[in-house]
Amino acid sequence: MHIRKIGKTTVMVARKAIVEVDKVQGTQFPPEIQFEGSSYSLHSIYLDAGVDLDVRPDNDLIPDMAGPDNVYSDSELHNLMTSNRNPLIKKPKKTMSAYMVIVGGVYQTNGVLGIMFDSMERTGCAIFYGHSMIQSDPRAFLRTAAHELGHEFNLHHEDGTTFQESSVTKFTIMNQTWLITPWPQAIGYRFGDHEKIHLSHHNKKNVRPGGSPFYDCNAEHSQWHGGIT
């Protein structure tokens, strides 16, 4: 644990992590945004939870093969993720290392903003830039990126909580998107107490991608799910 100063704010950093971010040509990397007078980025959201996240844009030249239908199937996404990950960045035994790819099309099922593949390694996540909400609303893009990455670090929808701010109920990062009403006022660009405890204090084996199966953690974490293990 060490202390890091970000602007005027001092934060406790419990862990370091890396996320390799690739993107298909014609898409963007997850943005930094201004929301209700504050700046947010993937790095700032995770730093607030005690994780110093090194966001490493890597391959931005993946050819766009979406074709006329603009649709990606599960098998194509699996192929994309397993073939583009940079082995120099993937060092699962030494550090918490995650993977994200921004694809140009949409998912095979309507309405999906992002997915994570839950193999034993929690292989990686994909954000669908072809979805109008991701492409036109940077708030949704950043939130979805932080959310999918949370899954790779073994966080689940049940870990999401709410908090009050300016008389509005805000939903933390791991809540499902459909719960966030009114949009965008109810977006909380931060992790809640449960999410923060997991990211910064639970056994690293259960947090890092490749460390343990999805949902495997400790009794405390299981209780947040009503006993689901």
Partner: protein
């Protein structure tokens, strides 16, 4: 479930119905695939475990208003998930689902009935060989995603199953996944190119599935994909395929939504 008994390694599908048993209309999320997290599947053998879908999807909600007595249906491929094959050994299992997606009461959880499933072991050398050919990790993933040219080891074993044990029911599942994969283009990022569909080979595989005693959902997949390939590539009579599907499944309560869809396709085709 589609069947009460499955051979180990046989792809099992859970059929889900969400019924409004109240008197008032109610708005519900109709994304019943467990990937969306609204439905969770619990499987019990020695102890209850949560089925972990291989793919976790985050989506904007798609909702439906269910009037009193109405239902929304879905399916869940539960044979393979984040921890590999679900039914790892022969025995008796129970399966139940929970649902949390009522818009006005998002925290309310609804529990399904509990269904018994028997997983039987192989009988004899031939079945043991078939099970060994289907039960690898890559085969499971290929069957789940119904595609993936990069899963070479999985494809090799499924092709072997299809050829060597072409009369077996397990081969019917292999043929379905191989047929669906070949029915469409595949964006292969390892090769940096798009592999075009191979409609002729796809049709050969899909026709084999239709003749097997596979779970009805897989037959449904075979019929609809076959009709689609016929139509796209002008290889056969898609309407005839849909007619055959309706004829065979019009009494099947689990597939009523598909029967309606097939009738609509037939009707549209006849009106042209």
């Amino acid at each position: 479930m589609g069947k009460e008994e499955y051979l180990i390694g046989e792809p099992a599908v859970a059929y889900l119905d969400l019924i409004n048993k109240g008197n008032e209309p109610i708005e519900v999320i109709d994304q019943l695939d467990p990937s969306f997290g609204v439905v969770k599947i619990h499987i019990n053998s020695d102890k209850e475990v949560l089925f972990r879908p291989y793919i976790i999807a985050d989506a904007v909600a798609h909702t439906t208003i269910l009037k009193a007595g109405e239902k929304v249906s879905g399916t869940a491929k539960i044979f393979f998930g984040g921890e590999g094959w679900t039914f790892k050994k022969p025995g008796n299992y129970t399966v139940k689902a929970t649902y949390k997606g009522i818009i006005s009461i998002p925290k309310m959880e609804i529990k399904s009935n509990i269904v018994d499933v028997h997983i039987r072991g192989p009988s004899g050398k031939a079945e043991r060989d078939q099970v060994n050919l289907i039960k690898g990790e890559e085969q499971g993933l290929f069957l789940l995603m119904e595609g993936g040219d990069h899963l070479k080891k999985g494809i090799k074993n499924l092709v072997k199953l299809s050829k060597q044990y072409h009369d077996s029911d397990l081969a019917g599942y292999a043929d379905l996944a191989l047929g669906v994969n070949l029915s469409r283009n595949f964006k292969d990022f390892q090769k940096g190119s798009v592999r075009p569909a191979n409609p002729q080979e796809s049709v050969e595989h899909l026709q084999k599935t239709i003749d097997k005693d596979v779970d009805d959902w897989y037959k449904r997949e075979a019929y609809f994909t076959l009709a689609d390939v016929y139509k796209k590539h002008d290889l056969g009579n898609a309407t005839q395929v849909m007619n055959e599907f309706v004829e065979n499944f019009s009494e099947d309560q689990k597939l009523q939504r598909s029967v309606q869809k097939a009738k609509k396709i037939i009707s549209e085709s006849n009106s042209k």
